[in-house]
């Protein structure tokens, strides 16, 4: 492949990239699931509030 052909191919691919960058589809949303968050909070809270583990008597 000649240098001219290679340069033409690079410019074509750059044009395609520019078109894609100018017209992107809407990005997927990132949501936090409230029920999952609440469940996690309950588990963490439960662990923090639980009584200390029994220790062997001397």
């Amino acid at each position: 492949m000649s240098a001219y052909e290679s340069e033409t191919r690079d410019l074509k691919s750059l044009e395609t990239d520019v078109d894609a960058a100018l017209n992107p589809a809407e990005a997927d949303g990132i949501f936090r699931d409230s029920r999952e968050c609440a469940g996690l909070l309950l588990v963490v809270g439960g662990l923090l509030l639980s009584p200390p583990a029994p220790r062997p008597k001397k």
Binding site: L14, D17, D19, A21, L22, N23, A27, G29
Partner: protein, 234 residues
């Protein structure tokens, strides 16, 4: 594509830096090189569009000659085709207007079609407008066809802003917030619901998504138009 995305982010970072400190310096330094780097730089200028000249618009001063030359080159190298998508056609139009400091140049391109703006539901309407956020500047931008379309639907745009924040789509949120700020700074002020809390919303978007220089660019532009942040206009 990755190379181009990187070049666009570098260019956006430079614009943000000038918006923050108010310096008089060209933003498109990397694009001014020769060969392959220059081709990539010009492509990045085409993607960022009229925002390459944003500091001169917001600070009301003459654009840097190096930036003007690159925008001219990007306009020449990437003309929109007859059936170009909305963003391609309007961003090209915005660059030509920015080159002429907001005035319609003699023999310049006519405004592209804007009928889509009235037909789209509010979600895709916000998405499309956020892609054209480079047009959201005082005066020229808000009085263009897209600006008039935005001014006709401020509540839809405000809903879109909240939706984008909830979806954590910071780029769309920043773009929509910039349009709302531009509308409030111009002849269409008063249409954006006060209950939106635009200033706090913009601050939140900047904190959460500001690592992306394109988000930071739109958020800083919006804050400058709101008049509460950034260097004093010279």
């Amino acid at each position: 594509m990755e190379q181009l995305s990187g070049a666009v982010c570098d260019l956006a970072s430079e614009v943000v830096s000038v918006l923050r400190d108010g310096d008089h310096r060209p933003v498109a330094g990397a694009a001014a090189q020769d060969g392959e780097a220059q081709a990539l730089g010009v492509a990045a200028v085409r993607v960022l569009g009229a925002d390459v000249l944003l500091p001169s618009v917001l600070f009301r001063r003459s654009p840097e000659e190096a930036d003007l030359a690159l925008v001219r080159e990007a306009v020449r190298a990437y003309p929109p085709g007859e059936d170009a998508p909305v963003s391609t056609a309007w961003s090209h139009w915005g660059m030509v207007r920015a080159l002429h400091r907001g005035r319609a140049p003699e023999g310049g391109p006519r405004e592209p079609d804007v009928s889509w703006a009235a037909e789209l539901p509010w979600q895709p309407f916000t998405h499309q407008l956020s892609l054209l956020a480079a047009l959201a500047v005082p005066e020229t931008g808000v009085t263009s066809g897209v600006g008039r379309a935005a001014a006709a639907r401020p509540v839809d745009l405000a809903r879109g802003f909240v939706r984008a924040v909830r979806r954590r789509d910071w780029l769309q949120a920043a773009g929509a917030g910039r349009w709302l700020a531009a509308l409030e700074s111009g002849p269409y002020a008063g249409g954006v619901p006060e209950s939106l809390g635009l200033d706090s919303g913009l601050e939140f978007v900047l904190r959460m998504g500001g690592e992306d220089p394109r988000v930071a660019l739109h958020a800083h532009a919006a804050q400058l138009m709101r008049g509460g942040h950034g260097p004093v206009a010279g």
